[in-house]
Assembly symmetry: C2
Homo-oligomer: 146 residues x 2
Amino acid sequence: MAEIHHQVGIKASPEQIYQLLSTDLGLSQWWTNDISGAGEVGSIIQFRFNGAGPDFLVTNLIPNKLVQWKHSGNMPDEWMGTEIEFHLVVSKNQTLVRFKHARWQEPSDFMAHCSTKWAVFLLSLKEALECGTGKPFPNDIQIDHS
Amino acid sequence: MAEIHHQVGIKASPEQIYQLLSTDLGLSQWWTNDISGAGEVGSIIQFRFNGAGPDFLVTNLIPNKLVQWKHSGNMPDEWMGTEIEFHLVVSKNQTLVRFKHARWQEPSDFMAHCSTKWAVFLLSLKEALECGTGKPFPNDIQIDHS
């Protein structure tokens, strides 16, 4: 099994960050503008990019500390069975967001693409909180010309 | 063992990208402005950030295709034994840079930090080639407030 790991430090409280990880309005500020379904454990969040995109089942929520999702639905295939985690840790002058996208079958080229893209979106999360405006799809930073 | 993987697609030829991965002048355009020692296999490249930073031994070079380095020197400790690879693959309308930083002892918080930072520097490489100016240290995008 392969894993993607990232960490960013944000000048915001865990409460502020958790809001952007656990609600449709919050998620739409940094990942994609087309999001629905975010809610309690058991909710299925639908992230859409030009009409297509992954679903995630909310599997665990510890307010202001932890958000865990599990892939749900049928696309993209390589995401099947993968799990995503956002872990918030208060540090001296910032809150660290420790991100993990785990249980990939292998470290494929698509996983490498997603790893870079996750970094872009986590920096968008940081920007949304620190500057007031993130770069969610379709205004996200492009990492290739596909 | 844990690994970092990234992939970016750049509108540039493998020759242009290879130049930025294998020479002091090229590396200084996207990673850090203080670089010395880049050269043939066996060279030790010294990357410095405010006077400190890692060394890498050049272990393999296939012009316009592959660059491999192995950590050399004493800092940071967690990089000991790790290996870095840039693999260039021509695609339809771009050249893909497949990046790997392998042989981490464990997926530590420091590895997560480095994963995000590598994404930032690979996007700096892309920008240097496509726009003429990258964002090498000390002008690199900050991912935290440490």
